[in-house]
Symmetry: C2
Subunit: 261 residues, 2 copies
DNA sequence: AAGTGGTCTAGACCACTCC
DNA sequence: GAGTGGTCTAGACCACTTA
């Protein structure tokens, strides 16, 4: 790509104009992955701005993944990312509120106990540590949209023992009171069986999405939660551009389907 | 938060030290959502650096979502994001290659035709436009890990008509030859039935994840693809921090389970 | 009106890396 | 050694928002 091929539109800050000019040249196919972008000096002369301004534009493009920068070798268009899908699964009560749906959290079971061997494995604490175990259902317009099975490390969230789950869903309380620093998720499709099918109010064997989430605060496990979503009533949608960071909430036009919303 | 409470560690560029100092203060709970961060002027005095350096640190934190900046009101800690799960589903051949698994793409059917009413609806083109329809299977170590049903707008990807699908998977070819500017995805759990169960080599009724992906280049639809993943053999895993942009590939420790990998 | 952040300049020195 | 990007300075002017 030659510096003289780039044109700016005069709208907004000059560094954003330069970012746009380079981005559109790449997306139009004028520069393919591996092609060189003009050096900061060339762009500085081309647009008659200071080097700091050029640097700001190009280093932001590098942070967004459109280009790769190397000393001496210069800046090149980044290799195309593998085609990918990104999904976000949000707090269901927040989604419902945004969709204007009637929402209710229904506590089903709760117990405070020393961690069993299975608890310890799932949550990542030592056996015998105090944990809270909770099961609840999220309903939206009367229909079950999510079943939640949760273990909480009471050492990391001592205040939870005094919270009334029928008033504040435990997920909401944790979010407000215990900042997490790391999370791990897995998602899979399963055939709902036995009690899970009953609690989800679907037929035995019906497909369900299961999301497992573990969160930590520093080294300390905070919570382990298994979220069951009936396959038929819940669809996750994401819409986004290939460059420019994570999907913003504004990019996500319809995050999930709710019954009769 | 007071500027004097912040300390830097002397390692690396000063703007990164300042970013770290503020980030760890927030994650340690010393500043809660809505709390004010010292102004650029205060930080400039505190660390004895120029305002540009402070600005770089804080504006990057704002871009990452840790803080929110407002003129006059100053910079405050951002409201906690809803607890969320982010998943990325990557090109399956790239995943397999990285996992060191034996990978094969198996074309099952292919046709070039004018778009039917259903094609037109799914792909977003007018009825009668030339499209390519493809079905294929991705195998990893002999096991079906993904079934792919794809429609391609030949107006957007004319070269595809001459590609041998048994040599290059069409998804791979598109990625290399047609840059996309926008994508939309949906994910859901279904019970596999009839031909889909047969092609996935699973039992009728078994749960499967279905990912639908539409991509555009500008206003023009490029491809519509439905990816079927057997629920039992594929699990998606993501691990990441609440701040700092999208999950990087390095954050994702095990992106999916492959048989015998 | 005053405080704050947003942008920009015209330099500077340094580190890395290819030739 | 020369080219490149990474960082940093000490100013400046402007735009926006709240008090």
């Amino acid at each position: 790509m030659e510096a003289r091929e780039l044109t700016v539109d005069g709208r907004g800050p000059i560094y954003l104009q330069i970012k746009r000019a380079i981005t559109s040249a790449v997306l139009a196919g004028q520069a393919r992955p591996g092609d060189r972008i003009p050096s900061e000096h060339e762009l500085m002369v081309r647009f008659d701005v200071s080097r700091m301004t050029i640097h700001k534009a190009i280093s932001q493009l590098a942070a967004e993944g459109l280009v790769v920068r190397n000393r001496k070798a210069g800046t090149v268009v980044a290799p195309r990312r593998p085609e990918r899908a990104v999904f976000e699964i949000w707090d269901v009560s927040a989604e419902a509120a945004q969709a204007g749906a009637r929402y209710r959290f229904e506590p089903l079971a709760q117990a405070q106990r020393p961690a069993t061997a299975e608890d310890a494995l799932q949550l990542g604490v030592s056996e015998g540590q105090p944990v809270m175990w909770l099961v609840g259902r999220h309903r939206c317009n009367g229909v079950v949209v999510q079943l939640e099975e949760r273990l909480v490390n009471l050492k990391a969230a001592p205040g939870l023992a005094n919270v009334d789950a029928s008033e504040i869903p435990p997920g909401r309380w944790l979010l407000d009171h215990v900042p997490w620093t790391e999370a791990e998720h897995t998602i899979r499709a399963v055939n709902a069986s036995g009690q899970h099918a009953v609690q989800l109010e679907i037929a035995e064997g019906d497909a369900a999405l299961v999301v497992e989430r573990r969160t930590w605060r520093g080294q300390r496990p905070v919570t382990y939660v298994r979220l069951w979503c009936p396959g038929v009533t819940r669809t996750l949608v994401g819409r986004f551009a290939p460059f420019g960071g994570p999907p913003q909430s504004s990019d996500i036009e319809a995050r999930s389907g709710f019954p009769k919303c």
